[in-house]
Symmetry: C2
Subunit: 479 residues, 2 copies
């Protein structure tokens, strides 16, 4: 039990730890493992990065670090959630990237699998998150929702409001709501999460008199899940956002430690950085829990967009960045493990393992015809799941593949808050080790401009000309 920086008692009831023995040379040998001396060198290399990360935080340069301590955001979120909930049977997030992945991850982790289908299992409205512009997908949803609009709240999330996908979805929904429910009805069924003062969505929200929540300044989409961006859908769907933030605060104490070997974000970042430079450029995150599967998708954005950067090295352009891969145990044992064991030794594995599942299930008796299944009968399903995790890890270690594990006591809001904060700070420290800016995303601009050009925006006519050869199919290469 610790007093955190805001003077609030941070009580983390659920343990979450990083376990890294199975990357050591003691376990997988010196060719692929990390020796004691290499770990000491990593500690030395990483200490200044920890200090720099703490310094940047103190200077207000990375405001995502303070989100767990914010008083107003959660209270505003709870206020809006309480306002929405009566009569709301469907809650629909319109957002993409950082305005969707955190929402999805929280929902999958902290609400039941059958949430949307089973009224008895949910404490809030059904949740839908649309992070694409596929007309077949969105059209199927619009068909279904057509006679339920007055019981449906749409949360459009975009800091600028110019993100083409979210803007397109919003223009469609806005038109439908105004047509079907009138302007007042439209206002009642929409919440905009956007910039506090400026931008396209702010202008629309002000003109249309929409309820709004704030996307904080200086917090990139991929670091925004603990802001109103991620918290509103969670609160509306009955997730304990206080426990989530409390978990993040508890992890903050650990990931701020200057002592490398006591800081899980530092060790995590250093091991990842180390293996990247040893040719293991693929970073597989493989939860052994269905509930955690979308956290690896959230991590996938955090990791790729933060660390995939070109930089100058002595005057020449260097491309860096590990490729994050999401996998799921046990499912992907029957899909990817053949490659993971016998393919190139070019991957670092991070498992997520959960000790205790609620509810657990006992496996039924074997039929008389199949005595060979007796070993399963009467055992808990969680024992099978976790045995498969250990078995897979053992098989990978047998072939000298480095493995780490994030150990969860159980899956609850506290643990998920810890996990999120652990990986956010891991990313910050990794960015410092890689020597890149973890907070920008310059390479997505050209694609955005090219989209404007292809959609016929006059000011991008020159670019449209340049794209023409790509846009026209050359039948000589069609087979």
């Amino acid at each position: 039990m610790k007093i955190d920086q805001s003077g609030v008692l941070a009580v983390s009831q659920t343990k979450l730890s990083l376990y890294y023995k199975n990357v050591t040379a003691d376990v997988i040998g010196p060719e692929h493992g990390i020796t004691k001396q290499q770990f000491d060198e990593l500690a030395q290399k990483t200490r200044p990065a920890i200090a720099e990360c703490n310094r940047q935080r103190k200077n207000g340069a990375i405001p995502y670090r303070d989100l767990p301590y914010h008083k107003q955001y959660p209270s505003q979120v709870k206020h809006v959630a309480a306002d929405i909930k009566p009569g709301c049977e469907n809650f629909v997030v319109l957002g993409i990237g950082g305005s969707a992945l955190g929402n999805i991850a929280l929902q999958t982790a902290l609400n039941p699998y059958m949430y949307n289908l089973d009224e008895k299992q949910r404490k809030g409205p059904r949740l839908f998150v649309f992070d694409n512009v596929d007309p077949a997908q969105f059209g199927s949803f619009l068909d279904w929702i057509a006679d339920k609009l007055d019981k449906t709240v749409f949360n459009v999330i975009s800091k600028s409001g110019r993100t083409a996908e979210t803007a397109a979805q919003f223009l469609i929904i806005r038109q439908i709501l105004i047509e079907k429910l009138g302007t007042d009805g439209y206002r009642r069924q929409v919440v905009a999460t956007t910039d506090a003062r400026s931008g396209t969505m702010r202008k629309i929200a002000d003109e249309d008199k929409l309820r709004t929540l704030i996307v904080p300044d200086g917090v990139g989409g991929r670091f925004s899940v603990l802001s109103p961006v991620g918290l509103l859908s969670a609160a509306v769907c009955g997730i304990d956002i206080d426990a989530l933030l409390e978990g993040a605060r508890a992890m903050d104490e650990k990931v701020s430690r200057e002592d490398f070997f006591a800081n899980p974000a530092a060790v995590n970042a250093a091991v990842n950085w180390h293996y990247y430079h040893r040719g293991k450029r693929i970073s597989v995150m493989m939860p052994y829990a269905y509930g955690l599967k979308d956290l690896s998708d959230w991590y996938r954005q955090l990791w790729a967009e933060s660390l995939g950067k070109s930089c100058d090295l002595k005057g020449s352009k260097v491309f860096v960045g590990p490729t994050p891969v999401k996998a799921l145990g046990t499912t992907d044992q029957h899909s990817q493990v053949q490659l993971y064991r016998e393919g190139p030794n070019d991957k670092l594995f991070t498992f997520l393992q959960v000790s205790e599942f609620q509810p657990d299930i006992v496996i039924g008796p074997q039929p008389a015809a199949a005595p060979e299944l007796a070993y399963l009968a009467g055992q808990k399903m969680s024992k099978l799941l976790n045995s498969e995790k250990l078995a897979t890890e053992y098989a990978l270690l047998y072939d000298k593949r480095p493995c780490m594990t994030i150990l969860f006591d159980r899956i609850d809001a506290d643990a998920i808050g810890q996990f999120i904060y652990l990986y956010e700070v891991t990313t910050s420290i990794a960015g410092l080790l890689f020597g890149i800016d973890a907070y920008n995303q310059p390479a997505v601009e050209l694609g955005k401009e090219a989209t404007f050009a292809l959609m016929g925006q006059a000011e991008y006519a020159d670019l449209a000309e340049k794209i023409k050869p790509v846009a026209q199919v050359d039948t000589a290469y069609l087979v």
Copy 2:
């Protein structure tokens, strides 16, 4: 219109083509592109592989090639489907790997997004596929289904019946059904898809007098989607399995061609093989269509399990195998494209692009406050989606990243059948180019044995001893 090998008219109404101009040196330069000469060398290298693949097929060594021509399987499947459908509101597949991924892919591609939630949008029962042993996930489902068992049919799919995950799920469901519905009720609600003659599940099915369908001999799980393994859930859920098989037959004609440049599987395999050896060892499949997203998951198993193999090269062990990665456009533009453009040039991209969407959606008018959104107003959503695809491809080509595209006229059963068969034969030819056996999966055995050991099977006691150090957490490495 062609007469196929079985004398049946193979009429492919929907065009599906591979477009490979954007891997050529003409587009991305010689450092990362393939020159005319290199393509000629690839053709020369690949021609014997095409011939060998055709020879193996003729000799009956790769029976998956003949599945589209089988008369009995689809007729048995339709018979069972017709038998099941009356009164069936929920259809539940218990399977994993190749006994799940094809089923999921067909459903996502060919049925509406809201299928399970909207009775009006479906022509069959709800579909659930369980390919994991997570007690929280499965428990949530069991809670919901408890009072619907007599309207629910379970399709357990396992050739051997010894796959631990599927066996565990089945023992749980079997116990519940017998308890709640009696032996007759249990029989009525289960279909087993398994080996024709032997194995654990065949013994159980015979003793319990279950309806069965056949997992064909010599067809590995990852090549089995066009057999009863994948066809039953599709047929039950209203998918046109005849059109699916017809599409596969139409593609068969193309992928059997000895002329390299006229054979899309050969070109596809050769380009993938070529880039692997040029250090682009990550193969990203990125559909621009939500409906195709689980086909990339199906591909991911096909590719990884078939091509991830160690082999002997002049006496020393070599590990080969590209790492398949699934992505989704436009969603992952806001997650992965920063890395794809500015990270290492170590990836080959394959887009899936769809010309025509049904239904399409027109984007609503821009609000007065946001004239900057005028470029979206009144446009079709599919135009935005496909503009984003071209824009992303343009941005990747700008940075010399090689891109191919599979062009779909539209998404229908015919096109999906073509796609599946194209990638299966691509995998066979790639296996021959890599010089490995694409049809086995030796590396998954150790994990299976280790699971038996950890679950307490007496005959694996020695192995259990060896695993102990992995199973015990060493707190010195816990942070």
